[in-house]
C-alpha cells in the first residue's frame, strides 16, 4: 500500500428506480492498473452501477470515489473515459470517425475546442491502435458494429484518462474486433497505467482478460480472481437467479 487511493471505491451503494431496487449495499474496490469485469445477467444492476460511477444516477445510499474524488470532480479533471453501448449511438449522425475520436480530446481543450498538434497526435495514435487509420474519414454510420465499437474505444484512448469504463464492449462485435479490443485493453493497463472496468453479460473472453471479476446480481455475489469466481456453482447462482425470477 503506497497510500494512493484505489481507482474505484464503491462502498455500501444502494440505488434504484421507483418500485425497483437495482443495487443493494454493493461494495467494490478496483485497484489501479488492473482490468475488472462486472459480470451479471440483464437486470442485474450493472448499468445502474455504471451510471452511478459516471454520476448519471443518484444513489439512495452509499458512496462512489474515483481516485479518492467525488465522481463529478473526477470527471472535471478528465479522469474518466467511457465507451458506450452499441445502441446508444446515433449511427445516422453526420460525423466522421476521426471527428468522433477528436471528441475524446475535448476535455483537454478550451471553450471553443480548438485542436492543437498534441490533440491530432493523440487521435492518430488512438486510431492506429484500434486499426481504423484507413477508415478515419468514413462516416460513423458506415462502419460495422465491431468497427464502430473500436472507434469509440479510440475516442476513449485519445482522452488519456487513468480510468476507462466500457459498457458491453463485446456485444454485437465480430471475432476479430473482440480479440483486438482485448489486446488493446491489456496494453492500456500495462503501458499506460490505465484502470479498466468493463460491464458484460458475456462469459466468453472474461477469464482471459480480467484480473478480477465481480459477479453482480443486485448484490455482489462473488468477487476475486477469474478462476475463483467463474465456477459453475457461482455462475449458477448469478445467472440461475435470473432464470428463476423470469421463467
Amino acid at each position: 500500500m503506497t497510500g494512493e487511493p484505489a481507482a474505484v471505491v464503491v462502498s455500501r451503494l444502494s440505488a434504484g428506480y421507483p418500485g425497483v431496487r437495482a443495487l443493494e449495499s454493493v461494495s467494490i474496490t478496483v485497484p489501479r492498473r488492473s482490468i475488472c469485469a462486472l459480470l451479471g445477467a440483464n437486470g442485474s444492476g450493472k448499468s445502474t452501477l455504471f451510471k452511478s460511477l459516471l454520476g448519471l444516477h443518484r444513489p439512495s445510499a452509499g458512496s462512489v470515489r474515483l481516485f479518492g474524488l467525488e465522481p463529478a470532480k473526477a470527471r472535471r479533471r478528465n479522469q474518466v473515459s467511457y465507451v458506450p453501448q452499441h445502441e446508444q449511438v446515433d449511427a445516422s449522425f453526420p460525423i466522421s470517425v476521426e471527428q468522433v475520436v477528436m471528441m475524446g480530446r475535448y476535455g483537454h481543450m478550451g471553450l471553443t475546442r480548438r485542436t492543437r498538434p498534441a490533440d491530432r497526435l493523440a487521435c492518430d495514435e488512438a486510431l492506429e491502435q484500434v486499426g481504423l487509420t484507413e477508415l478515419r474519414r468514413r462516416g460513423i454510420g458506415e462502419l460495422s458494429g465491431g468497427q464502430r465499437k473500436r472507434a469509440f474505444l479510440a475516442r476513449a484512448i485519445a482522452q488519456q484518462s487513468p480510468l476507462m469504463l466500457l459498457d458491453e464492449p463485446f456485444a454485437g462485435v465480430d471475432r476479430g474486433s473482440e480479440q483486438l479490443i482485448s489486446t488493446v485493453l491489456k496494453a492500456l493497463r500495462d503501458q499506460s497505467d490505465t484502470t479498466v472496468v468493463i460491464s458484460t453479460h458475456h462469459l466468453a473472453g472474461v477469464a482471459d482478460l480480467a484480473d478480477e471479476v465481480v459477479l453482480l446480481h443486485q448484490r455482489v455475489l462473488a468477487s476475486g480472481l477469474p478462476e475463483d469466481v467463474l465456477t459453475e456453482e457461482q455462475l449458477g447462482r448469478s445467472f440461475g437467479a435470473v432464470l428463476r425470477e423470469n421463467p
Binding site: Y82, S92, P94, R113
Partner: protein, 298 residues
C-alpha cells in the same frame, strides 16, 4: 430582364424586407441544423407559439416586444422541461399542453386589449413594414446568435451526438441545453417580424432537414442549410413582389420545394437513389433520418 431584380429595390421597404428576410432565414437555418439533430424540432414550434402573450403584455406595459417575447419563450421552455421531468407524461405531451395554453392566453389577452397590435402581423409577420430600427435589431441579435453558435459549435455538436460523453468529460449538458434553448427563443423573436409565429417554425426545421438529407458532415450541413435558406429568402421576397403573394408564405414554400427535391434526389439518402439501390428488395428504411423523438432535451 435585370429590371425584375432591380425594380423592387427602388422601394426602401423592399430593401428592408429583403435584408430582414435574408438575415432571419440564415440565423434560423444555422440553428435548425442543431435542432433537427437534437430532435428538438417541436421545441421550435412550442417556443414560437408561446411568445404570443409576451408580445401582448409588452405592448400593454410599453416594454420592448422582444423582451416580452423572450421572457415567455423561456417560460415555455422551463414549463415543458419541468412538466416532463416531474411527471410520467412524455415530452411531446408536455410540449403540446404548454404551448397551446400559452398561445390561448395570448389570444385572450389580445381580445381584451384595445391596442394597435394586429394579430395577423404577429401570426403571419409583416416583413414589408419593417423599419430601419427593426432591421438593426434583427441584424444585431442575429449576429450575436451566429457568433455564439459558431464559437461553441463543437461543444454543441457533441451535445447533440453523445450527451453521456459530454457529461463524462465534465461538461455541463444542462447549461449547454439551456444556452441552445435561449438562442432558440432569441432567434424566434428576431424572426417574428419577417415570418410571424406560424411560419417561423418552418425556418427552424426545414433548412436543417434539407441539409441533413444532402450532407454527410455537420460542417457542410451548416453551409447547405444557410445557403438554401438565403436563396429561399431572396426567391420568396421577389416572388411575393411580382406575383403579389404572401412574403412569408413564399419564402417557406421556396424552402419546402428544396426539401422536396432533396428528399427525392439526395445522393444515397434520397428516395429515388434508395429505391434504385434496393431494387428487388425493400428500400432502405428511413432510419437515416432521426425520428423527432429520438432524443429528448435533458
Amino acid at each position: 430582364m435585370i429590371e425584375i431584380l432591380t425594380q423592387p429595390l427602388e422601394f426602401t421597404f423592399m430593401q428592408h424586407a429583403l435584408a430582414a428576410a435574408v438575415i432571419s432565414s440564415v440565423v434560423c437555418a444555422m440553428l435548425s441544423c442543431w435542432l433537427v439533430l437534437m430532435g428538438w424540432s417541436l421545441m421550435g414550434e412550442a417556443v414560437a407559439h408561446s411568445i404570443l402573450p409576451g408580445i401582448v403584455l409588452a405592448q400593454i406595459f410599453g416594454l420592448p416586444m422582444a423582451l416580452g417575447a423572450f421572457v415567455f419563450g423561456m417560460l415555455a421552455v422551463l414549463l415543458i422541461g419541468g412538466i416532463s421531468g416531474d411527471s410520467t407524461l412524455k415530452h411531446d405531451t408536455s410540449i403540446g399542453v404548454v404551448f397551446t395554453s400559452l398561445f390561448a392566453l395570448g389570444l385572450v389577452l389580445i381580445s381584451r386589449t384595445p391596442s394597435e397590435t394586429h394579430l395577423t402581423h404577429i401570426l403571419f409577420g409583416n416583413v414589408l413594414g419593417i423599419s430601419q430600427a427593426d432591421l438593426l435589431q434583427t441584424a444585431g441579435l442575429g449576429l450575436a446568435t451566429v457568433a455564439v453558435l459558431l464559437a461553441l459549435r463543437r461543444s454543441l455538436v457533441l451535445l447533440a451526438f453523445d450527451k453521456i460523453h459530454a457529461h463524462t468529460i465534465g461538461m455541463s449538458t444542462s447549461v449547454l441545453s439551456i444556452l441552445l434553448l435561449t438562442l432558440l427563443a432569441l432567434t424566434t423573436v428576431t424572426s417574428l417580424q419577417t415570418l410571424g409565429i406560424l411560419l417561423v417554425v418552418a425556418m427552424l426545421v426545414v433548412p436543417g432537414a434539407t441539409a441533413l438529407l444532402l450532407c454527410r458532415r455537420f460542417g457542410w450541413m451548416l453551409v447547405v442549410a444557410t445557403g438554401s435558406a438565403a436563396a429561399s429568402a431572396v426567391l420568396g421576397v421577389y416572388a411575393s413582389y411580382w406575383f403579389d403573394t404572401s412574403t412569408g408564405g413564399s419564402i417557406v414554400l421556396a424552402q419546402s420545394a428544396q426539401f422536396a427535391l432533396a428528399y427525392l434526389f439526395a445522393p444515397t439518402k434520397g428516395m429515388i437513389p434508395r429505391l434504385r439501390q434496393g431494387r428487388g428488395r425493400r428500400a432502405a428504411p428511413l432510419s437515416t433520418f432521426p425520428p423527432l423523438d429520438a432524443k429528448d432535451p435533458a
